[in-house]
């Protein structure tokens, strides 16, 4: 069989995600952002949402998310994405609005905004990338930095006496009656990425059905911040991050209902 006979549309098994732009991604090799972007781009396309989606990008590594996913975007001030998304979604409730935030953005400087947006049950999706470090500014301590973890601002390891404890903010979010679906995922293996895609799809459906806020944390790697190779980062994440940030659904209910688990 000739090669030309094989290259036919009906034999296509994999193609570039349509809603990912051709711009060169600035993310480091091995970073989880690229995978999560791809999943979101796939879902927005598969669910036919391109013309009703507005993304809100954060301050942090994902500040340029708007360069990569071919939808309308608004870039928020540090931590304010949930307030920005609230404004968009309240004014145009028929749109699908999501925020894409890192741990510094969401759990530190934006802790008030995320709590209140979730507590109001804004019909938005929150994608929370937790890699336990400030990647963009050069690897400083984040609220989710593990105890003993070395960062640029905890050069001898995070000392809980001085710096407080790593924050499990997703567990706090799950307590709020405004949220309908709260889950913690990873994308470091193919099965994990597929599972994360299923979780994000459910989250988007909930938002479209106006069930309140859906919140998807993705425990992620930052190999340049952690100063580990991509492969070692995945292993380190499995051994250190996941025991402290256990995976799975924390809440799966409709707005106003109390969650049992």
């Amino acid at each position: 069989m000739e090669l030309q006979e094989i290259i036919k549309p009906e034999n296509l098994v994999y193609d570039k995600t349509r809603l990912l732009t051709d711009k060169l991604m600035h993310y480091c090799p091995g970073c989880s952002h690229g995978v999560v972007h791809k999943i979101l781009a796939e879902l927005i396309d598969e669910m036919g949402l391109q013309d009703k989606t507005i993304g809100v990008s954060p301050v942090g590594c994902a500040v340029f998310a708007y360069n990569y996913i071919d939808i309308d975007w608004q870039e928020a001030a540090h931590g304010r994405a949930p307030a920005v998304a609230t404004g968009i979604s309240r004014i145009n409730p028929e749109k699908f609005v999501f925020t894409y935030q890192g741990d510094g953005d969401l759990a530190s400087i934006g802790a008030a905004e995320i709590m209140h947006a979730c507590n109001r049950g804004e019909n938005i999706l929150v994608v929370f990338i937790n890699n336990g470090i400030y990647g963009m500014t050069g690897g400083q301590m984040a609220p989710t930095t593990l105890e003993g973890m070395v960062t640029a601002t905890t050069p001898y390891g995070r000392n809980v006496e001085r710096n407080g404890y790593p924050m499990r903010i997703t567990e706090l979010i799950a307590q709020l009656p405004g949220t309908s679906y709260v889950t913690r995922q990873t994308v470091h293996t193919a099965p994990a990425a597929r599972k994360c895609k299923r979780a994000l799809k459910k989250a988007i459906k909930n938002v479209l059905e106006k069930k309140g806020t859906s919140f998807v944390e993705v425990v992620s790697t930052c190999n340049s911040g952690w100063k580990l190779s991509p492969v070692k980062s995945n292993k380190w994440m499995e051994e250190n991050m996941i025991p402290y940030y256990p995976l799975g659904d924390m809440k799966d209910s409709v707005k106003g209902e109390h969650s049992d688990n």
Binding site: Q50, D51, Q74, V84
Partner: protein, 357 residues
Amino acid sequence: MKGNEVLAEAAIRCGCDGYFGYPITPQSEVMETLMIREPWNETGMVVLQAESEVASINMVYGAAGTGKKIMTSSSSPGISLMAEGISYIAGAELPCLIINVQRGGPGLGTIQPSQADYFQSVKGGGHGDYKLIVLAPASVQEMNDFVDLAFELAFKYRNPAMILTDGAIGQMMEKVELSDYKPRWTQEEILEKSGNWATIGKPDTREQNVITSLELQSDKMEENNRRFQEKYRRMEADEVRYETVLCDDADYVFVAFGSSARVCMKAVEIAREKGLKVGLLRPITLYPFPQKVIMEMTPNVKGFLSVEMTAGQMVEDVKLSVYESGHHTHVEYFGRMGGIVPTPDEVVEALEEKFIR
């Protein structure tokens, strides 16, 4: 009606699409009035109490991205909290309305009226080189009229506009003729006006609309700044608004805005009764400032007295205007601070003391 209530009523009537705010004295009646009126039932206007001024201005930023008419109101400490968001809105070139019903500062200060946020309002307030269109009402009627005007200017220039008023006018009851109802813009009208930038969902037929103030390439960021500055120069050329009272034969001119201008109206009367030829220049737009008017008056005037409820802020712009004229007309400041409104007699006394005695 009360000034603050009129702001709310004017917002509903001018077809405002959304209000996001946080309670703070002396302007809480704006949101309270909106909540009583329930405009979402009547015009479809959204009203939301945010968790903080930081959140409310960022809700405004998001909502203004949709190309609709969006506003917030607050008072001095709250506006300071909003400064970051206002800078982002100016940098992203979004139209919106911000109302500052000023109180005395600095810090928590007092809940009594003040004009000490003049610098913050007209010189920028947040970080970076930007300007707001700043309107200063001097009556409850103007509180009504300037809401619609502010939106008109904000959309004309794709720039945040501010109504800078104070606790006195916010709390004052006066007769007012409310504007007629204007319908909110339809989605088609928004597409026509703002479809090339508003974040309303990307159809396959157009490029992405991205609202951001970020540009890491310095040459492009400088280009953006040049564009902003050109826009500000256009505002300075076309949008200066002011009122003059008895300035034609005046030897001395009070320069005052808002509440201070009301005091000066009476002071002009008292001074005229005393045989002093005194007039009043009332800037209505504080930015763009009526610099040219002052420059034109300069050859015929012996002195300008800038009367402010500040420690002397607008007087700098008056002096700058005189400097630009090339004349050496005497400029003085008189004001009260910390929530005190000057009396007309005090103003006349200050005029006599600084210029005549």
